[in-house]
């Protein structure tokens, strides 16, 4: 007696695929592949934006771990001693103490004077925790112990044509220009622009840096810092790595607040991630609806054209379930081919986008396929594909034999 009818379903499906219309088959696969690309491409781009942004947070803003003052305190006292202690923590590659203050910078050539954030550090220490020194586009980075020199971001330097500036700038300041800095304590000092850097991230490119030695001459810090940046041996943005480094720092008796780059950047990240997640979900839903309609229409046309054939199979004695399953096997095969073709297309697009990267506010985007998202989209594709294949197959297979044979 026949059992589940799988062999006959598979037998019919294989032959229908092998001998079916090649053009329709290829077109269907192409359409499904495009749906796969549509479901993933925005995620690929947006994920790489996030990934790039996270890398920027580590490379320029916070390192892997950042030490900030205790609750209700403005400064970290005895910063140098803490730096020495942190340098002994296993896995730590570099430590830099920073003193950041608000200032007004005036370009003596253009007269422009925007408010800015000025950070003082030891340039040699800073080179071990951040990559500013590698992003100098004009002039040079600061040297240890030098005074009267300033390095600033390209967006703070600005353009001669201020309509091109996104933020208030110095109106096209160039290396060699003199700027006057007005400190909060009322002191003023003239600096020569030594270098201009560009990280391609607006958060970084509006800052200005001087040496700690210099700052001590106009605004003595008393050995204090506003933050201490710690960077591990690895360049990774893996949150687990940062957490492990944080635990190691705490085990060395750090009393100040120790935060990973994720914790420090949480507010910004969550905001950005929330918006991006919403866009991703919206794109996914739209793509799924379009995919299911495409698969449904194709399966419906295919099945309607085979109405008589289905009736013949039923008349021979093949069970409805076997006939429906035959179409499900076909749909499964189409979805599999579409998923593979989609992956190939997506990979090709990713390669192209890496060769010709898109420039965004956070910098150039070098996308990579997010395979967890890809896997989810494929599972969803199979889900909607099989449902879209099942419904018309069940409807036609359930028709009266003689009625279906009459067409």
């Amino acid at each position: 007696m026949p059992e589940r009818g799988y062999p006959v379903s598979l037998y019919l499906a294989v032959r229908a695929i092998r001998r079916g219309n090649r053009g329709t088959f290829l077109l269907t696969i192409l359409l499904i592949a495009l749906m796969v690309v549509l479901m993933n491409i925005m995620v690929v781009i947006l994920s790489s934006v996030i990934s790039d942004y996270q890398q920027q947070l580590v490379d320029y803003q916070y390192g892997h771990v950042i030490i900030v003052p205790k609750e209700k305190q403005t400064y970290i006292e005895n910063a140098d001693r803490l730096v020495e202690r942190l340098e002994r923590v296993p896995g730590v590659f570099g430590v830099s103490s920073r003193f950041t203050t608000g200032v007004t910078i005036t370009n003596t050539r253009t007269g422009k004077s925007p408010a800015a954030s000025l950070t003082a550090f030891d340039p040699e220490d800073e080179k071990t925790v951040s990559r500013y020194h590698t992003r100098i586009i004009d002039g040079d980075f600061l040297a240890a112990g030098e005074t009267g020199q300033i390095v600033m971001g390209v967006m703070l330097a600005g353009n001669d044509d201020e309509t091109k500036d996104k933020f208030e700038s110095l109106g096209g300041a160039r290396v060699g220009d003199l700027v006057t800095i007005s400190y909060r304590n009322g002191a003023e000092k003239v600096y020569r622009i030594k270098g201009i850097y560009r990280t391609d991230n607006a958060l970084n490119d509006v800052n200005a840096f001087v040496t700690k030695t210099d700052l001590e001459t106009v605004m003595p810090t008393g050995g204090r810092a506003t933050s201490i940046v710690v960077r591990g041996n690895s360049g990774t943005t893996d949150p687990a790595y940062a957490r492990a480094l944080k635990v190691a720092c705490l085990e060395y008796g750090v009393q100040e607040q120790v935060k990973t780059w994720m914790e420090k950047g949480r507010a910004i990240m969550e905001d950005a991630m929330g918006s991006i997640q919403m866009i991703e979900d919206l794109i996914l839903v739209v793509s799924l609806v379009v995919s299911s309609v495409v698969v449904f229409v194709i399966t419906f046309i295919n099945i309607t054209n085979r109405r008589k054939q289905i009736a013949i199979l039923k008349a021979i004695g093949i069970r409805e379930e076997s006939i429906v399953r035959n179409f499900l096997f076909q749909t499964f095969f189409l979805c599999s081919c579409g998923a593979c073709a989609g992956w190939l297309l997506l990979s090709l697009l990713t390669v192209l986008l890496n060769l010709f990267p898109i420039k965004m506010n956070t910098g150039y985007v070098y996308p990579e396929i997010d395979y967890s998202q890809f896997f989810i989209s494929i599972v969803l594709l199979y889900g909607v594909g099989l449902i879209s294949g099942y419904l018309p197959a069940r409807r036609v297979a359930g028709e009266e034999i003689l009625e279906a044979m009459r067409g």
Partner: protein, 237 residues
């Protein structure tokens, strides 16, 4: 043995009821080659559809070897067709995605026999109908007569107890029709299968063991008497 008791089939077209069968009672003995004849619209194809479980009668009973099959559910009817019945359609009704061999093998595959055995049985049947050499052709590459022989081979591959044929020669020329009828006659004789065939060609009568005439949805006893078929059971005298 097939026993039909007071079989009716009424079609509903909108609010109008059209009786196609109006109470047919007869029996067919095991191993008989029975012809069902009658004018167009007489109800002979409808009658065959009921016997072959392709349609459900409005009232009445169909007993096959003592079992009432007229009230089986869809699933059981399908299984019964697969295991016990063969059917030859007027328009061949072959599956276009399949080759000749595959078309013939498909009922055996549906019985989940080993594929090798299915192909062997199909090849044997194709040999019997003289089409073994064309086993790898797609069905549309065959002539009408050849397609009908493939359809017959498919109906016979599982060695069903009963084979039904609905005007299998309707689209064939005389020579091909004769080939098909001789084929039915030979399988009936050699394999002992019961064959019930609808036809409207008078010259086909010579091939049948017995002829049943149907007119206006009823057995045509006058027609049977005129053709020397004797009584309502239509035995040839």
């Amino acid at each position: 043995m097939i026993e039909v008791k007071d079989l009716t089939r009424i079609y509903k077209i909108g609010n109008v009821e059209v009786p196609a069968l109006r109470g047919v009672t007869l029996s067919v003995r095991k191993g008989e080659f029975v012809g069902i004849m009658g004018p167009s619209g007489s109800g002979k194809s409808t009658f065959l559809h009921q016997l072959a479980l392709l349609d459900t009668p409005t009232t009445g009973q169909i007993l096959i070897d003592g079992s009432d099959v007229s009230r089986l559910n869809d699933e059981d009817r399908t299984r019964f067709r697969l295991m016990h019945l063969g059917y030859v359609f007027q328009d061949y009704a072959l599956v276009t995605d399949l080759t000749v061999l595959e078309n013939v093998a498909i009922p055996a595959i549906a019985q989940e026999k080993p594929l090798y055995d299915c192909y062997a049985a199909a090849a044997g049947m194709l040999d019997k109908v003289g089409l073994l050499k064309r086993k790898d052709h797609l069905v549309y590459e065959l002539s009408g007569g050849e397609q009908q022989r493939v359809s017959i081979a498919r109906a016979l591959v599982n060695r069903p107890a009963i084979v039904f044929a609905d005007e299998p020669c309707a689209n064939l020329d005389t020579e091909n029709s004769r080939t098909v009828l001789e084929l039915f006659q030979s399988v009936n004789r050699d394999l002992g299968q019961t064959i019930v065939m609808v036809s409207h060609e008078p010259w086909h009568m010579e091939y049948f063991d017995r002829i049943i005439f149907i007119r206006d949805g009823l057995l045509d006893t006058e027609g049977m008497a005129r053709e020397g078929c004797g009584n309502t059971l239509g035995r040839k005298e």
